[in-house]
């Protein structure tokens, strides 16, 4: 356990997610990895946090750190949770790795009053140029996988995701993109700009 007075720094996108979450709330982190975000939320915002993670190693490190995390398959297990069980359900870099991203987002909105979704933006200009010039699926520092071994099977752009939220009648309460300098900017109505210059995006969604 780390010292509560001195929380360790977390990844920038995780910090953006954390900023969207009110203290003393109930949070489910779907695909929580090794639990960095959950631990941060507990230390800094006293949230009552839970997680789901598929990898044995991830779950073991979470539970060993005192976090409440269940080993399971997000696409099978979300249906077990009751409606509105959480104030926030977090999908951090998770939707693009799902077989059924829309189904997972629907379950997320059912069990959470709000959702926080972060995703890599496939519309980012460097990725567009990579394909244009190389004619190959982009490989970058943030997306280091080859097409044949990537867990990210359902890439989308910021514009794609905004479109899905409209189809699902979701309200975007906040939206941010991260540029390559690592600074965050509001997406708001400038979807085009965000879609060109955002490497990642974070959305706070409400039913």
């Amino acid at each position: 356990m780390m010292n509560p007075a001195n929380p360790k720094s977390i990844r920038v996108d995780l910090q953006l997610i954390a900023n969207m979450i009110e203290p003393d709330t109930r949070v489910l982190d779907v695909g929580c990895g090794n639990g960095d975000l959950l631990e941060h939320l507990w230390r800094t915002k006293q949230v009552d946090g839970r997680g789901i993670e598929i990898s044995t190693q991830g779950v073991q490190s979470c539970v060993s750190a005192g976090l409440s995390v269940v080993q399971g398959d997000v696409e099978k297990d979300l249906k077990n949770y009751p409606d509105d069980a959480f104030d926030y359900v977090i999908l951090s870099q998770t939707v693009q790795a799902m077989m059924d991203p829309r189904g997972v987002l629907e379950q997320t909105m059912r069990i959470g009053k709000r959702a926080v979704v972060s995703l890599p933006n496939f519309g980012y200009w460097r990725l567009r140029f990579y394909m244009l010039i190389n004619g190959r699926m982009p490989v970058s520092e943030n997306l280091p996988y080859e097409w044949y071994n990537t867990p990210n099977i359902h890439f989308c752009t910021i514009r794609d995701f905004v479109r899905l939220t409209r189809h699902m009648n979701l309200t975007i309460e906040q939206s941010l993109f991260l540029d390559e300098a690592g600074s965050s900017k509001t997406i708001g109505n400038s979807v085009s700009i965000a879609n060109w210059f955002g490497e990642q995006a974070v959305f706070l969604l409400k039913k």
Binding site: M1, R50, V63, S64, G66, L67, V69, P82
Partner: protein, 398 residues
């Protein structure tokens, strides 16, 4: 000779007033208000044999109750007074270990119906002055837990910091969380199930039939007849023991290796090491366990179905539970496979309960929870650590 020795052991240790000579503590409870049993009868005056380790802190907030399995007892750590071997959870319980005796106050009691000092078939029926034997009421996991609750009340502990146990111990953990959710801060059911399956019942029935087929069982009256169904009990243990292991574990340990010989003998001696091993497991078990107790305790496990009293909805057993759960299963456990643990987890998630669940990779089968499994120990310890922080227990537990 062996049989005589076994009977001498039993006579000295477990039967009637002999149980008082065992190390550890023993209290007589339920003397004023009798213990209500699921079968409809009551028990007045219930003896509970137990052991404790560590010190209870001033707030009485660091107590961990360990629930033992079918053939376990309250000699969890240290030398077992009957077998002379290490306690059954020596790997987990001790100074600086997962369940740290320097930090927590640890309690383990022999279950109701057990044969190591708590009221059971070897106790005297206070109404007749005779040993209970087969006339002992058929008990349930719920009855065992209500008996443990008497002990915890006797120790004046408002809330247990944790209730933990594997296999049948895990069933008791689930019962605790279900019956007394406010008395349990954290619950750790390991390698267990919320409902004994048809396959589990089937294996138990084989064991029971083996005991009852032994003419020395004497329709359950072997004590009065001066006999003991050691062959039947040994076969029951051998069959059960196979279910505690796994095919890879047996292969690794024995393969098809021969026992003290270079070739098969074309007979029915223990040609193979695995046969010799099982025979040893059977015969050594007979020296420390009572045949009728085996019948009764396996029956209690067969009757276990936590969802039954909630119209088949397990989630209702844990509705609005404040308990923090850690459910653990082992990949090679085919007695209580991982999907049975997942059912518990799904039921808890249905109530958005605070639950952690880890499936530990091990090829050692059901018995993995008793063995040196570093991942299991690390997760278990980390969970208790996190709970201690939430409970406000200081590092030294005081």
């Amino acid at each position: 000779m062996k049989k005589e020795q076994a009977q001498a052991n039993r006579a000295n240790v477990a039967y009637g007033d002999g149980a008082w000579s065992l190390p550890g503590e023993r209290v007589r409870l339920a003397e004023q208000s009798p213990l209500q049993l699921d079968c409809g009868t009551t028990l007045k005056g219930v003896d509970i044999a137990f052991q404790t380790w560590g010190e209870l802190n001033a707030e009485k907030s660091n107590a961990i109750l360990i629930c033992h399995a079918l053939t376990g007892d309250h000699f969890v750590a240290g030398k077992h007074p009957v077998t002379g071997k290490n306690g059954w959870w020596e790997e987990v319980v001790g100074p600086g270990k997962v369940i740290d005796t320097d930090r927590y106050f640890i309690i383990c009691s022999n279950i109701l119906g057990g044969c190591m000092g708590s009221t059971g078939l070897q106790s005297k029926n206070p109404e007749t002055g005779e040993l209970w034997g087969r006339d002992f009421p058929v008990i349930t996991i719920g009855d065992m837990v209500r008996a443990q609750k008497l002990l915890i009340d006797h120790l004046a502990i408002e809330q247990l910091f944790a209730v933990v146990g594997g296999s049948m111990g895990g069933m008791q953990v689930l019962e605790w969380a279900c019956q007394f959710p406010d008395k349990v801060f954290a619950a750790v059911p390991i390698a267990t199930t919320a409902r004994h399956s048809a396959q589990n019942i089937a294996f138990h029935e084989v064991g029971r039939q083996a005991i009852m087929a032994d003419p020395d069982w004497c329709k359950g009256n072997y004590l009065a007849e001066g006999k003991y169904p050691h062959r039947g009990l040994a076969v029951a243990r051998m069959a059960a023991h196979i279910t505690y292991l796994s095919e890879p574990a047996l292969t690794r340990k024995f393969g098809r290796n021969l026992q003290d010989r270079d070739a098969v003998t074309y007979g029915f001696d223990a040609d193979f090491q695995v046969e010799s091993y099982l025979r040893h497991q059977g015969s050594s078990f007979v020296d420390r366990f009572d045949a009728n107790s085996y019948l009764f305790i396996t029956r209690a496990m067969d009757y276990f179905d936590l969802a039954e009293r909630f119209d088949g909805h397990l989630s209702k057993a844990f509705k609005d539970t404040p308990v923090r759960f850690l459910v653990m299963a082992f990949t090679s456990d085919w007695l209580y496979p991982t999907y049975e643990s997942r059912e518990i987890v799904n039921a808890l998630n249905a109530g958005a309960a605070n639950v952690s669940f880890v499936e530990i990779a091990s090829d050692k089968g059901h018995d993995a929870f008793l063995l040196d499994e570093p991942d299991f120990h690390q997760v278990f310890e980390g969970f208790l650590e996190g709970c201690a922080e939430h409970r406000g227990l200081k590092r030294n537990g005081r």
